[in-house]
Every structure is written in structure tokens, then in C-alpha cells.
């Protein structure tokens, strides 16, 4: 068994995964980067020309961009924090055995297991009922109250945010439960003898033990924060008036035909996510236990 042969085999086995990701991502991402440097548009009557960093320069001077960016950061940070807090709470609820634990566990698993592609449709039409149903008056009043206080479209945005939190907290709760299960119970018992304060125990024992799980959960929460929003945007053809970077880019590209600025816009978030990811990698990379 030569090491060289093993390495060749490794690359061979790695190939299908890389091929799949390259097919679905490499060209599209390349296209997006290239397009962000041009003025590509289906409504142009002149050939597409290379404009360098013009799209980015124009964005940085556009107040609409900064508003969308601020919304995006606030939305992502807020939903991720809430999902994490709720998820941690749900996981801790399930941490100790009690009667009926299996049932509560299943209940907490449900929001994530219930396919979001269809639940988002149901969620949206439930909160904004299109026809006279028994609950449409109640929901209508909620909508007018929220829209009246925060501006038109706010209720739709709030409802998507709630959906994202509802589903995300379920995923994170179950994910963190997997982390808690890995901790030997004696460790918690020792900690209970050491310190009377549950709050201190939580920060000194539970959080450090769950660190890799928490780090992975944070990242997934950040990246999935926008998926549901995109779903609803597609579904309702632009009823959301609160622009975040994603919906703003979609609007520019599909309704405005300005693919250049739209590409630039949707790429602006990637470097930040990448930076976050590299900080988090340190926490959830499996440690080297033995040498290869």
C-alpha cells in the first residue's frame, strides 16, 4: 500500500464531488464576477462593454445600496442571534431526560423537517390571506397595524423573518442537542458540585463544550438567513418593499435588466461571509488526534 497510490485514489474519489460543485457553481460564479465588471443588459442597443469597477464605484455612492446593506446586516444578525438563542434554549430543554421527552423532541424537530418549500407558501398565504377566510380579518388587522407603524410591506417582511426564525431555531436546537448528547453527564454533575450558579455553569461548561457545534450553527444560520427571503420574493413577485442586498439585486436584474450592477450587488456580501467562515473554521475543524 503505497502512500502515492493512496493519494491518487483520494483525488479520484474526490473528483465526483468537485465535478458536481464546479458544474453548478464555477461557471455561474465566474459569470457573475465577469458580469459585475460589464454593463450587460438585455435592453442595451450597443454591444456589452467592459466597464471595470464602475458598477462597484457607483454602488458605493448610492444611498439605496447602503440602505439595503444596512437592512441586510441587521436582518442577518438579528435572525441569527434569535435563532441561536432559541435553538440553544430548545436544546437545553431536551438535555435532561423526562417523561414525554421523545414527543417534545419530535415536536422541536418538526419545523425544520416540514419542507420549507411548501410551508413558506402556506405561511405567506396564511399571514396575508387572499380571500375571505375565517382568519383573514384578524390577519388583515395585524397587517394594517404593522404596515401602518413601520411602512408598507413591513408585515410581509416580518412574516418572512418569523418564518426564518421558526424553522432555523428548530434546526439549531436539534443540532446543538447532538452536541449536548456528546458531553458525558458526569461532566455536568462535576460542574454542578463546583459551582452553585447555573448561569456560571452555562458559560464555563456548556458553551465551551458546544463550541464547534455553535460555530457551525452560526455559519449555517447566516447563510440560510436569505434563502427563505428569496423564496418569498419569487413567490410574490416583489411585494417586499424592504430591500436587502439579495432582493435589491434581483429587482435590478430581473425587472431593471441591469445585470452588471446586480451582479456587483449580490457579490458584495460574499467576502464578508468568507471572512466569518475562516474565523469559524478554527472552531469547528476536527482536531488532529493522530498523525496520518
Amino acid at each position: 500500500m503505497g502512500r502515492a497510490r493512496d493519494i491518487r485514489l483520494a483525488y479520484l474519489l474526490l473528483a465526483p464531488a468537485l465535478l458536481l460543485l464546479l458544474t453548478a457553481l464555477a461557471y455561474p460564479v465566474g459569470w457573475e464576477v465577469w458580469t459585475s465588471l460589464t454593463d450587460l443588459s438585455p435592453v442595451n442597443d450597443h454591444p456589452t462593454s467592459f466597464v471595470g469597477l464602475d458598477n462597484y464605484r457607483r454602488l458605493s455612492g448610492d444611498p439605496a445600496f447602503w440602505r439595503a446593506a444596512a437592512n441586510t446586516v441587521a436582518y442577518a444578525a438579528l435572525t441569527s442571534a434569535v435563532k441561536l438563542a432559541l435553538g440553544l434554549g430548545l436544546a437545553l430543554l431536551l438535555a435532561r431526560p423526562f417523561r414525554g421527552r421523545a414527543l417534545v423532541f419530535l415536536a422541536i424537530f418538526l419545523p425544520w423537517a416540514y419542507p420549507a418549500s411548501v410551508s413558506v407558501i402556506g405561511w405567506y398565504w396564511t399571514l396575508s390571506p387572499p380571500i375571505p377566510t375565517a382568519y383573514s380579518v384578524f390577519m388583515g388587522n395585524m397587517k394594517y397595524a404593522v404596515d401602518g407603524a413601520l411602512g408598507g410591506g413591513a408585515w410581509a417582511f416580518v412574516s418572512v423573518t418569523l418564518f426564518n426564525i421558526w424553522r432555523g431555531s428548530s434546526f439549531i436546537g436539534i443540532f446543538l442537542l447532538a452536541g449536548i448528547n456528546a458531553v458525558p453527564p458526569e461532566l455536568f454533575e462535576c460542574a454542578a458540585l463546583e459551582s452553585k450558579s447555573a448561569w456560571r455553569r452555562f458559560w464555563l461548561v456548556t458553551v465551551p463544550l458546544l463550541k464547534p457545534f455553535l460555530a457551525l450553527a452560526v455559519f449555517l444560520a447566516l447563510t440560510t438567513a436569505f434563502a427563505d427571503l428569496a423564496n418569498v420574493w419569487m413567490l410574490t413577485a416583489g411585494r417586499i418593499v424592504y430591500p436587502v442586498l439579495g432582493t435589491h439585486a434581483y429587482w435590478l436584474a430581473i425587472h431593471g435588466g441591469q445585470f452588471g450592477p446586480a451582479s456587483a450587488l449580490s457579490l458584495t456580501l460574499a467576502p464578508f461571509l468568507l471572512a466569518v467562515l475562516f474565523v469559524l473554521f478554527r472552531m469547528f475543524d476536527p482536531p488532529d488526534q493522530e498523525r496520518a
Binding site: M1, W125, A178
Partner: protein
Amino acid sequence: MSPRPWWRKLGHGSLLLVATVYCVFPIYFMLVQSLKTAQEDVFGNPLIVLNPTFENFEELFQQSGESHGYVGRALRRSYPVLDWLENTIIVFAGSVAVTLVVSLLAGYALGRLRPPGFRWWRRLIFASYVVPHTILFVPLYQVIVSLNLENNLLALLVVYPTLAVPFCVWIFSAYFQNLPRAVEESALVEGASRLTAFFRILLPMSKPVVVAAGIFALGTIASDFTLASILLLDAHNKTIPAGLATMEVALDELLAVAGINLMAIPVVLICAVFARGYVRGLTAAMVEGA
């Protein structure tokens, strides 16, 4: 330790109640609506159903292309739901299978064979999650066209796995990396090939991780709606989520909610059956290494 005082128990119990209601209520609500008659939907109590009926589900499967009555003056069409159901099963089963095979191979390569820089390979694959999906479907559609997969279910079998593969590769490779070398060493010393050792020893051991990866893949794939609507244009060629989005919800609200449940119930049942395995697999992958 002394038994917990009654007020602690009460607190714990009510927290459990709140958590359960919080998680289940929206699902309960959608289930209840789907069992209602139009009469009850408009005039009944929204929280309960007094005369449950399956007529919305039956109506879903009516012959496609035929009209089925009016709301006011608007004609209600029926939809090829049976086709959608079949497509959904093919696409979901196929995508989960592709995801698992591809991720197992890559996970084994990175966690067990450890080529130079295997950590960076793994990080690179995982980093594909930062790619913004906003308008990515425009070039993605070009790729699908150039592969001749327009309006073809196979297109989703290429695209869907990419949503789950990075996470699955991560947990498989972490699991295999944490497993002690000794596990398959003796078999290899006795002359078994890597292939035999993988199928006889490693794969059976990693069953919980396979379950975890499979459930994650199913949950992720079942949450997509955008890609399916964009890549499958023909009315007969849609999956259930993409198809439901073409419905006139204003006219067919009860039908749509029945469609939602039609897809959700099987997925939820599969997830529920494997729920414990899912948690065990995640634990095994992230920390134990068995």
C-alpha cells in the same frame, strides 16, 4: 441531590408546553385548513375543524386540464398533481442518493486517505456555501441549457446535491478522520483491499452518519422552491413546490393547502422515523468518531 421543588417542575413543564406549541402550531394550522370544506373555511373557527373531509385532497387528483367549477366568475382549473408527485419522488430520492454517494466518497478520501492539504480541500468545498444565490440562476440556466437538460428532471439531480454536498462531505470526513486507524488496520494487514475494508468495516460503522447526512440532504432539498420553478418550466414536469406556486391561490386556497400537506406529510414521516438516528449521526461525526 434533593428532589427538585414543585415550582421548578412546573416551570420546566410550562416551558416544554410553550416550546411544543411554538413548534407545532403553524403545522397544525395548515393541517386543519386542508381538512376543511369551503363553507367552514369562510365561516368556521380557524383553529379547529368540525367536519373534517378529504375532498380537497381528492380534488387535487382530478383529471388534469379539466375545469372544476367557478369561484364567482373565475374558472378554476385542475392541475397535473399526480405528475408532480411522481416527479417529486424521483427528484428527491435521486438527489439524496447522489448526495450520499458523492459525499461518502469525498469524505472517505479526505478523512481517511488524507491527501496533502486535505483540510483545505474540505474547507474549500464547505466555502461554497458563501456563494450568493440571488441571481445565480441566470448563468446556472445557461449551464443547464449547454448540458441539454432544459426542462428535464435530471437538471435538478445535478443542482440539488450541490446544496447538501458541502455539509455532508464535512460530516463524513470529520467522522472518518476521528475514527482510530486501528479500525481497519488489521483487515488491511491481512491483505484486504481498501475497497473491501470500506464496505465491510467502515460503511457499516458509519450508518448513523449516513442517516444524518441523508436526512440533512432531504431537508435541504425539500426546502428549495426557487430552483425547481426556474429549471422545470413545463406544467407536467414540475415538482410539487414548483407546481403549487403556479396555482391561483386566490381561487384555490384550500387546494393549495392540501397540496402543501400532500408533500409535507411523507417528508415529515421519513424525518420522524430517522430523527433519533439523525441526532446520533451528528454527534458521532462531530465528536466521537465512534
